[in-house]
């Protein structure tokens, strides 16, 4: 099943329609006797940053792994553009335009940015040479440079190994790569966890620019400030369930922490600081 093409940048500024790009309904995941997800609902809209927050063990990672094809749900439905889909592997999700940026830099440090951008999806030359697997390096380099420019990522040197770049720039390459291939949804699992202050800021700016291109961004983060800075909508998980879906206006870190820990459920006696 092939979903319709992603929203274009022009429609991105319009308020999200009723149909989410990606929607999960009643997802249940059991590992043996442990029930990690107990009927989670989730939705992500095109041109929006949806933050997914929750305390450790709330089921964030499990949910993202299910939505990106790494795990298979025990029960529940995943809908892409309103149609039921099943992912048997991450490549199924890739094929439908769903990409993931991992917190540990998923780049090959010894290779150039363009080799990293096209990792596993290398372009080959046309004709006979291509049949033998000869790479079209010039084209990959050009298309990478265009992608970096589009997302306003400036790299010191596009022809040197990634190792010579800063951690933030390396992460930018990883993010640009996912954007280049994501037509629908990008999951970002703690993309700023390994970065410093300036680099974090840059990365968050990049996150905003990405959703302006019309894809849906799902940000998983422990950092409530980051979340409040970039997210349009915040989905809160607790103990394997979604317990809140908040629009990001006039809410405070305390509200988020309260929702995550259950302090807002009136009788909770524990308060965890983020």
């Amino acid at each position: 099943m092939q979903p319709p093409p992603a929203d274009t940048a022009s429609s991105a500024s319009v308020a999200p329609g009723p149909v989410a790009v990606l929607e999960a309904r009643g997802i249940v995941k059991r590992f043996g006797h442990v029930e990690a997800l107990r009927g989670v609902d989730f939705e992500a809209h095109a041109g929006e940053v949806t933050a997914l927050i929750g305390d450790n063990g709330a089921g964030k990672s499990t949910l993202v792994k299910i939505l990106s094809g790494v795990y298979q749900a025990t029960a529940g439905n995943i809908l892409l553009d309103g149609c039921n889909v099943t992912f048997n592997s991450p490549s199924d999700a890739h094929a439908l335009g769903i990409e993931t940026v991992y917190q540990d830099l998923s780049v090959a440090p010894d290779l150039t940015p363009s080799a990293n951008m096209f990792m596993g999806r290398e372009l080959v030359l046309p004709g006979l040479l291509g049949k033998f697997g000869f790479l079209d390096n010039a084209r990959m380099r050009r298309e990478s440079a265009e992608a970096f420019q589009r997302l306003k990522v400036s790299l010191k040197d596009i022809d040197m190994p990634i190792a010579s770049l800063s951690g933030g720039q390396r992460q930018s390459v990883a993010i640009c790569r996912s954007i280049m291939w994501a037509k629908q949804v990008v999951f970002m699992d703690e993309p700023t966890a390994a970065l410093g202050v300036v680099q974090t800021r840059r990365t968050l700016e990049l996150v905003r620019r990405i959703c302006d291109t019309g894809v849906a961004v799902v940000l998983i983060s422990h950092n409530m400030r980051d979340v409040l800075e970039v997210a349009d909508t915040i989905e809160v998980l607790r103990l394997g369930r979604r317990i809140a879906r908040l629009r990001n206006n006039n809410i405070s870190i305390q509200d988020l922490v309260g929702a995550m820990t259950g302090a807002l459920d009136s009788t909770a006696d524990e308060q965890v600081t983020a």
Partner: protein, 346 residues
Amino acid sequence: MSQTIVAPTAEDPVPTTVQPPPNLSRRLRAGMTSSPAYMGVILVVLFLFFTIMRPDTFASLFNLRNIFLDAATLMILATGMTYVMIAGGFDLSIGSVLVFAGVCGAKTMEAMGTNTVFTLVAGLAVSLLAGGAWGLFNGFCISRLRVSALITTLGSMGAALGMAYLVTGGNDVRTVPKMLMTIGHGTVFGVPWLVVITTVVAIVAGVVLHMTKFGRHTFLVGSNPEAARRAGINVQRHVLLLYGLSGLLAGLAAMLSLGRFSTTTLEGHGTDPLEAVTAVVLGGTSLYGGSGSIIGTVVGVFIPAVLANGFIIMGVQPFWQMVVIGFVVIAAVYVDQLKRQSRDRV
């Protein structure tokens, strides 16, 4: 917990720069500071030094041919080792696999008792098959069973040699078809067949490594296997194929060695893997995987070869070559580590 979001004081704007076209001089500079370039300069200096000191003997056609012939089989082994090491692996078994493949090939040709092209092709096929099979066995243990490369190939190093002794009863096979000896000693336009074959193998290996998808995946697997896996590259299969390739090339080297020495040289290849690793490391391929080149390995094969030959001709005890190369290898790895540290400290 306060929620004051401090506005960035020193706003560093992200400039919308157009990426510059590949800068030739910068690329040239990057190339010049690479290990193969340094080592290439050392090789040229060594060559010139010995030529000036002993112009009649060292630089003679006869002697140069000898240097190339000595380097030929090692070059083929080192080619396979380069692929394996760029992918972050290691193959100690190639010397023993060479002997085993040579024994299988020689026994086959002996049993046929003929001296035709067909005999040769059959011997080559059996030799390649035997070498490739050991390589795939190594690759299977390393990629599927997750036994470390060092231990797997240490094990098959012993096992392959042991099997070669079992097949031969401990005696070298010395009946080699004349036609194979022609290849071992003959020339085309004055260039020995062995050198021609080795050159072709090295060029093909270099082109595949640096210009094709297979080569690119080799670098990716060595640089960050987890990232390669996430990107949809079949890392297990690729590693399996690389060890298979290493074994296959050992099979080819076995036939060349048979042609040159007319015997299976059971005892002669114990240090081959170490010499191959030395050549690969001298050529700038990283022990940690992810970077390296065939041209570097060519240089790395020739430095010890030229040094040994030059010392002999100069009347210096050739054992000095072992001493010098030993320390140079340590220095080369140290420099590689320094480079990585300064690079990763961003």
